[in-house]
Amino acid sequence: MTTANMAFSDIASYLKLELNQLLPNCSDLVVHGINSSVAVCYVSGLVDTKVLSSSILSVLTMLDEDEVNTELIRQTITICEIEREGNLDQVALKLLQGHVYIAVLDEYEGLLCNIANFPTRAISASENETVIFGPVLGFNESLSSNIAILRSYIKDPDLVTEPHMLGTKMETRIQLTYMSEYVDQQYVDYVKSKLKQIKTDGLLGNALLVQKLQNHPYTIFPLMTLTERPDRTVQALMEGKVVIFMEGDSHVIIGPSSFIDFFLSVEDRYMSWGTGLFIRMLRFIGLMMSVFLTPVYVAALTFHYQMIPPALIVSLIETRTKVPFPPLIETLLLEITMELLREAGVRLPTKVCQTIGIVGGIVIGQAAVQAGFTSNILIMLVALAALGSFTTPNYLMGTSIRLIRYPMIFMAGLWGILGIVFVAMVIFIHLLRQTSLGRPYLFPIFPFRGKDLTVDMLLTPRAHYSYRVTPTKSGLKSNETENNQQSDTASSNSSSSNET
């Protein structure tokens, strides 16, 4: 650099020239000459301007132009992360990560100071997974602050955070996190080997990473939990699960997950076992209703009039005689209307959303029946089924549940109850074949582990004290209640709060 430097009287114009070649169309690159011998460059927006002006610029302007050198600057400015770098290619890369480069005339190496401050949103309450009771804090899009939140819960050296880079272009930063003492190493190995295989430019969010981590690319069920709640994440870590954080995504991946996990909410644990169990059961009833209610209606009306109780048959005949369509078409029509309403409600701005409610309530509900479009009973059943699918705490699973209703309705219209059984069997076989990080997806049910099932479902008082009742070894039971009793009480605020 020394030789080249000679041609320019001030370092700023030299740096500008060189960096413009490395980062050709980078309009937000700033090269600022303090004086003829010192220059500062950075990418605007990526650095913390407060720190920049208070800790760097103000110091640099104080220094005498003739006596300045990098060692002096290093000692004067008050930034911790400083390194020397002479290679401009490296410098260019670092600038894009939010570093500030300080170059001094006649010196080969400049200084790289890390004062990165990527635009991010403040930590706020989790919006998609709301709870009535319990901590409301949610993760945000910043990886470092997410890890910080996690560390505020678990202050233990066992907490491993392994950095990985994903993608050739976007260089997405992800962190593989687990409790080294509790985790089953095979899950960690599985994730690492999968991460190595991923060939992509970069991933926009953790939802995409989940799809890359699962074995069966065509499944419609989410095979790993996505959550933005720290308490849920901590609980998973204490259970010996693997958690993956991604820079730029407020959701973290928890794995392995089983089918039942998607119907449990952290909130359940905060309640007494009785109410918790009641609410869990309610959700499973909701699941059954949303999957089977309308198909059974179609089947009963098309094929199995024998099943209908005599008290109901009269009112059914009465409403049905006005309807011009066969039950299959009638049901599909109404179900799709329901989905349209829901989709419209999601896409529209919040202020217009109320209109959707009115359209749905009055037009669809009242007018459809009066116009002889559908029967009253079906409207009630479709509403109940929709209500049932809303109770699933996990959004992705809720969507999957909505989807499997349609083949079921269709087959019920073709084959009756036999068709429902047929589709249910296909789905069940499909679920049996899935694995999450190598563990069977239907875990406590198949392979059957009665103890886990009771702890999962019944929320026995023991489940409050120990997280590790759920097994870590796939299929093998490991129950180390006593070992982690201590760390539990020390580290998890969430569990101790519910005992009081």
């Binding site: 009963a300 009306l301 098309t302 094929f303 199995h304 009039y305 024998q306 209908i308 005599p310 048959i313 009269v314 009112s315 059914l316 005949i317 009465e318 049905r320 005689t321 309807v323 066969p326 039950p327 087959m411 073709l414 084959w415 009756g416």
Partner: protein, 378 residues
């Protein structure tokens, strides 16, 4: 194309093509029959009356429609039924089937057999017998009954549950018909003006109706037969030993009438002697007194015990009368034959043999009444 694609395409083709073969019964495009009655009209001709759910009425009330056709067989009659209706007749909702008495006296097996052969009929539908033509019962316009088919079903069902009618489903009838030592009983249903009621029990030999038994005696048969027990029964006895406990006699009386609520009973039938065909029948009952015709003084010492003994005595006489009535008609509705068959080794009992043996049977009846509550403060 790989194997998986061929497989999945063939599944789709199968779904589409094979589904066409499946026969559907869309609810509002069927004529749903809820009750059927068979009348005999002339030699070998059967008149079938069927109660169907009618076209919807504006008030949303249950309505019904009764169609009557003739045919050589019950199945033939049903085929003829279709000629009179806009939609195909389906029989999966039939819960009540009645036979005219005359038909029942000729034997109803052929019709019962058709019912059990057709899987669309339920096994749990009730069978009954009528004395007058069934058409009169089913086709009559009742002012208070909107659908007589459903009404009859409810009538029989609640009488089985609470009263003296023994279970009379198709399943029971067939079971009794094929068992060596038991005969079927069916309720007799009659219409009097604007009401329908269960009047008596029809007794059968195989599939032929041989006589009937009145409700007063039918109660005892029900006590011996079923898990469900009559809720209450009436007993009428001579005043005899009880006269001294009656206060305030306003008018002369010979008998005391009581109504008892049944709180639970146990019955046992034992074969005492297989040569003399002697049976010991013992019923133990816990009862509460619901009504008594005279002003009986329960406070007096020994009054309750006296009533208990008198009740027991009278009831064992009534029980014996009921059983003798069965013996007279040669219809073993209680199933003594089954007791005999299970008590005697290598009995090789057949229906015909038991019919000859049954009239020779001797019964020792005993009823133990335990009066738990009298309903008054003692």
């Amino acid at each position: 194309m790989n194997k998986l694609q061929i497989k999945s395409i063939s599944v789709v083709i199968m779904l589409v093509l094979l589904s066409g073969c499946f026969h559907s019964n869309v609810l509002e495009r069927t004529s749903i029959s809820v009750a059927v009655g068979y009348d005999k009209i002339g030699e070998g001709k059967i008149q079938t009356s069927s109660v169907l759910y009618g076209a919807t009425s504006k008030e949303g009330k249950e309505s019904s429609q009764v169609i009557t056709v003739e045919g050589e067989t019950s199945k033939g009659a049903r085929l003829n039924l279709n000629q009179k209706l806009g939609y195909k007749v389906v029989s999966g909702q039939i819960r009540f089937i009645a036979y005219e008495g005359e038909l029942a006296r000729d034997g109803i097996l052929s019709i019962v057999d058709t019912l059990s052969r057709d899987p669309s009929y339920g096994d749990m539908m009730y069978l009954a017998v009528t004395e007058k033509p069934i058409r009169d019962i089913l086709a009559y316009k009742y002012p208070n009954i909107s659908n007589v088919g459903n009404y009859l079903t409810r009538l029989i069902a609640h009488n089985i549950e609470d009263s003296w009618v023994p279970s009379c489903t198709l399943h029971d009838f067939r079971n009794d018909f094929y068992s060596a030592g038991k005969e079927a009983v069916l309720p007799i249903v009659e219409r009097t003006n604007n009401e329908v009621n269960v009047t008596a029990l029809a007794l059968f030999q195989k599939d032929v109706m041989v006589g009937k038994i009145e409700p007063e005696q039918a109660v005892y048969i029900k006590l011996l037969l079923d898990r469900e027990q009559p809720e209450s029964l009436e007993v009428k006895m001579q005043k005899d030993g009880m006269a001294k406990y009656v206060k305030n006699v306003h008018h002369p009386f010979e008998t005391i009438k009581t109504a008892l609520g049944n709180l639970g009973s146990k019955s046992s039938i034992k074969l005492i002697s297989k040569d003399e065909l002697q049976f010991d029948i013992h019923i133990r009952m816990n009862v509460e007194l619901q009504e008594i015709s005279e002003d009986y003084d329960f406070t007096e010492k020994g009054a309750v015990q006296q009533l208990e003994t008198e009740l027991s005595k009278q009831m064992s006489i009534d029980l014996l009368n009921a059983l003798n009535q069965l013996k007279r008609l040669k219809s073993d509705a209680v199933g003594f034959g089954e007791v005999y068959r299970s008590s005697v080794r290598n009995s090789r009992l057949t229906k015909d043999r038991w019919q000859d043996m049954f009239p020779k049977a001797k019964f020792n009846t005993k009823v133990t009444v335990n009066l738990i509550r009298t309903g008054t403060i003692e």
